[in-house]
């Protein structure tokens, strides 16, 4: 069919194998690129500070220096003292630990409920799905503060684990709705059909396909719910229906603010406020990054 008659050096047939440059594999995108470094560093510092608060506290956070009430920041007390004479620097770290734990525990509880409920609703038949979703809508239509107050009253005792459970079980609805929508979408995807056809059981499909795929879309919501749990606790404590003043959290520190306003001691409000806001901003920033990176990965196709 084809004949090679003459061969000249530059015009020699070398075929597909020949390549002058050894093309190395495409360099992977650097992992660090685009990560909000500042937010991560600040958040990590705050978390470490809170976790190892014993090492940096200068005073016992619950000890009241009755002769040093409402001290402005200065040499004895770095951030001053509050209206009960407690050292704010120590309270920030000690209370921050509780606040972060409340945020995390509440998020774990709400995400767990959301994933289970959302998946069940997503794979259920039309009627069950309808009932389950209408139920979440009813819950969503009740102001969550009202729910929390109600549950607080029902539980009676106020401690910080109790409040995280309450926040957790009143904030799972919107994540559950997203999980349910994703599951509905994914379960009719071709790869799920093929997996079922190959004999994959419900559990196999759930853990191999559904969970990894909806995780990416609720990651942002989960990170954000850490934030909103901290906010809820602070709000409740500020309103006086959360934790009592003896239990130190950022929220309960802020609850002293009305008294502080009378004496114009700004540091009592501002310092825990700044810590709270900075932490929330960092979490939001990281959450946005997570959302963006998942979107761009999917946008690759």
């Amino acid at each position: 069919m084809m004949q090679v008659n003459k061969v000249l050096n530059n015009f020699e047939i070398v075929g597909t194998q020949y390549s002058k440059k050894d093309e190395t594999q495409e360099a992977r995108k650097p992992f660090i690129k685009g990560i909000p470094i500042l937010s991560v560093v600040i958040l990590v510092l705050i978390i470490l500070g809170c976790l190892f608060c014993e090492l940096i506290m200068t005073h016992d956070p619950s000890r009241m220096f009755l002769d040093e009430i409402n001290r402005a920041p200065g040499s004895g007390h770095i951030f001053g003292t509050d209206t009960l004479g407690r050292d704010i620097w120590s309270m920030i770290w000690f209370g921050g630990r509780k606040s972060l734990i409340i945020g995390t525990v509440a998020t774990v509880i709400s995400s767990f409920i959301a994933v289970v409920y959302g998946t069940l609703s997503g794979v259920a038949g039309e009627t069950v799905d309808n009932i389950m979703m209408r139920f979440t809508e009813i819950l969503l239509s009740i102001p969550s503060i009202l729910l929390v107050v109600f549950m607080q009253a029902a539980l009676g005792q106020r401690n910080f684990l109790g409040i995280s459970v309450i926040i957790g079980i009143t904030s799972w609805m919107s994540i559950a709705k997203i999980v349910r929508a994703e599951v509905r979408k994914i379960r009719s995807e071709e790869y799920v059909l093929i997996s079922k056809m190959m004999g994959g059981s419900f559990m196999h499909v759930l853990f191999k396909h559904l969970a990894p795929n909806f995780m990416s879309s609720i990651m942002f919501m989960i990170v954000m719910s850490v934030r909103s749990a901290i906010v809820s606790e602070s709000t409740l404590s500020f309103l006086g229906i959360g934790l009592p003043v003896e239990i130190i959290t950022w929220g309960s520190m802020l609850s002293l603010s009305e008294k502080a306003l009378l004496t114009s001691s700004w540091w009592i409000i501002l310092i825990p406020g700044i810590f709270l806001v900075v932490t929330l901003l960092c979490i939001t920033d990281i959450g946005n990054y997570i959302r963006g990176s998942y979107n761009s990965k999917e946008g690759n196709l």
Partner: protein, 646 residues
């Protein structure tokens, strides 16, 4: 062939270069491209996806996305320079001088307006003073001109009421509203069925003959090119690499890439083998040196890797950019033997039935008392080790049938037995279920959607092994996965990659590997080729026929592309609107089609040979369902069955 070359050039593109700005760097989409199209010509640009042919259209229309940049060159339409025009100025060129027909007629029409209103909009944009009566008359004239019958009634129809072919006619009516000098048709028939494609192509030619309009026709299908084009340019990696009259390109292809494209077609297969082009088209960074095709070119010269070949003239109209034409290069003769339908490689012992389908019927419910008969009363058998092809246009029920066989749908009537097990029955034992899910595997049309984007290639292929706990440890499974990856032509290094990092062809190979890793008895392949390029299609067909040789796997191959069916299958069933109308051994069917629908289908498929195409008349088939129901079967030859017609 009417008024070619009589007048000046309508489109003149000189040294055009377009660059994409991407996060990975600047990518060349079009490199130093020049072409000129004379009045009344049909100029076809052919290439695989990613070769820059759509970018070329968009550049001419001035609708490039914002991350692109024209780095050099001129485009003159009807003597008017359009590079550098503002958007407002371009608006006066678009529609009047140039207009465009897009690939998918569904997405280019607005579902909330009637088609009459949409065509009227195209008229009114450039003629604001037109009266309502004149406007309506003009729209109806346009609809007549593009072959929409009952135009007055259809004036107020909405796009979703019309078939794909009718919609494409509407889009064409909109494009023709201002009688543009140049019509750009970007894959206008790719989304359509073969018989509809033939009608639209005939219409385009008819319009050209009547009005002398110039058409820039973009396609990947060489059969379509042979049917409509006067001149052809082959494009690869943003460059035209061969250009000439249609007859010249098919009679004397010169560039190795053109050889590759032609050789990848089933009509030019030799000894029952296809010759796919290895590899996939490259993505070129700006400033690339050498011939972009060299790495896929078995005849690449050393100089190809260093220096870009210039154009060598073969005749006043025919030129090609390859160093093989240089006088210092070795002379290579290339010939295409247009062989008769390839023989099917092995004989099937038609004794052992693997799958029996009896009177299978499945309706979809639309609303109360309204049904779509997706599959009605279909019966056939699949024998062990054979490739049974189901052919039909979209909506003929072939995918529904496949899904019934796979157990995704529960058919309303009829039975399907796999080796004696009733698939349609709910009361199957656990053992039978496990056996079926091991022995029947599936390859789907959309290679992307069938893969979980979150999993690695290894995990995807391992999934059936894990479900059925075939291997005790990971190492043994990995061995098997490597073996199957090698068989389907995937590099071992891809094991840890994710589907988003693979090309379309590689993804379909992963699908095939996942299906074959269990050594299935029956493989159901639902249009496994239709989302792929010609050269990639040939690669996949090669993989499938290699596997067919080594395994005893029977295959139900669903397709609308008749040429590939002819190549790969042993027996063919033709479906029309839910009915099986003809069933025959492949050779017999293509030699002697009996049912008039089969004849129409065969005559509509374009062949990559201009001599045949220029003279051929395709037959039409339009029949309602009821006309051939319950007429019974007739055996016209051994194993060749036809549904009786009036």
């Amino acid at each position: 062939m009417l008024r070619i070359g009589l007048l000046s050039n309508i489109l003149e593109v000189k040294n055009l270069s377009v660059v994409f700005n991407t996060p990975e760097g600047r990518i060349s989409a079009i490199r130093d491209l020049s072409l000129s199209i004379g009045q009344g010509e049909v100029f076809a640009v052919v290439g695989e996806s990613g070769c820059g042919k759509s970018v070329l259209c968009k550049t001419i229309m001035g609708i490039l996305p914002s991350n692109t940049e024209i780095t050099s060159g001129n485009i003159a339409v009807n003597g008017k320079e359009i590079v550098g025009l503002s958007d407002g100025e371009m608006c006066r060129v678009r529609g009047v001088d140039i207009s465009m027909v897009f690939q998918d007629p569904m997405t280019s029409l607005d579902p909330t307006y009637s088609i009459g209103a949409q065509i009227a909009e195209a008229v009114r944009v450039h003629d604001k003073k037109i009266t309502a009566d004149a406007l309506k008359k003009k729209v109806i004239d346009l609809m007549d001109a593009v072959g929409i019958d009952r135009a007055v009634e259809r004036y107020s129809s909405f796009p979703w009421m019309l078939s794909g072919g009718m919609r494409q006619r509407c889009v064409m009516a909109m494009a023709l509203a201002q009688e543009p000098k140049l019509l750009i048709a970007d894959e206008p028939t790719t989304a359509l069925d073969v018989t509809v494609q033939a009608e639209i192509l005939d219409l385009l030619k008819e319009i050209r003959n009547k009005t002398g309009m110039t058409i820039l026709f973009i396609t990947h299908d060489l059969g379509v090119v042979a049917k409509v084009a006067d001149k052809v340019a082959i494009m690869y990696a943003g460059k035209i690499i061969e250009q000439g009259l249609c007859e010249e390109i098919f009679a004397r292809p010169t560039h190795p890439y053109t050889w590759g494209l032609l050789h990848a077609l089933p009509s030019f297969a030799e000894n029952g083998r296809l010759y796919p082009i290895p590899g996939a088209p490259p993505v070129l960074k700006e400033g690339f040196e050498g011939d972009a095709f060299a790495e896929r070119n078995p005849y690449a010269l050393r100089i190809d890797y260093a220096q870009e070949p210039p154009f060598f003239d073969l005749s006043p109209t025919h030129k090609a950019a390859t160093w093989l034409l240089d006088e210092r290069a070795p002379k290579i003769q290339f010939s295409l033997t247009n062989t008769a339908p390839p023989k099917t490689a092995h004989d099937i012992k038609q004794t052992e039935k693997l799958m029996e389908i009896h009177d299978l019927t499945h309706y979809f419910r639309l609303g109360q008392n309204s049904y779509v008969k997706a599959v009605s009363h279909v019966s056939f058998d699949i024998y062990k080790g054979e490739v049974f092809a189901l052919v039909g246009e979209s909506g003929s029920g072939k995918s529904t049938l496949a899904r019934c066989i796979l157990g995704m749908y529960k058919p309303l009537g009829g039975k399907a037995f796999y080796d004696g097990i009733d698939i349609t029955s709910k009361r199957r034992t656990r053992k039978d279920k496990a056996r079926i899910s091991k022995e029947i595997q599936f390859i789907s049309q959309d290679s992307g959607a069938a893969l979980d984007m979150k999993m690695t290639v290894r995990d995807i292929i391992a999934e059936p092994l894990e479900i059925h706990r075939v291997y005790k440890n990971r190492k043994a499974a990995d061995e098997r996965i490597k073996e199957i990856m090698k068989k389907v032509g995937l590099d071992e290094q891809l094991m840890q990659r994710r589907p988003s990092e693979l090309s379309g062809g590689q993804r379909q190979r992963v699908n095939i590997a996942r299906a074959y890793v269990m050594n299935p008895m029956l493989l159901v392949a639902d249009e496994p080729l239709s989302s792929l390029d010609v050269s990639i299609q040939a690669q996949i067909v090669e993989v499938l026929s290699e596997l067919k040789k080594d395994h005893e796997t029977a295959m139900l191959f669903i397709a609308h592309d008749l040429s590939m069916v002819e190549f790969i299958s042993d027996r063919v069933g033709v479906m029309y609107k839910g009915h099986l109308v003809e069933l025959a051994p492949t050779k017999e069917l293509f030699r002697n089609p009996v049912h008039s629908y089969t004849k129409a289908l065969l005559s509509a498929a374009p062949k990559p040979d201009p001599e045949v195409e220029k003279t051929r008349v395709s037959t039409r088939y339009k029949k309602s369902l009821t006309e051939f129901m319950h007429e019974g079967w007739e055996e016209v030859a051994e194993g060749h069955f036809v549904l009786k017609e009036h």
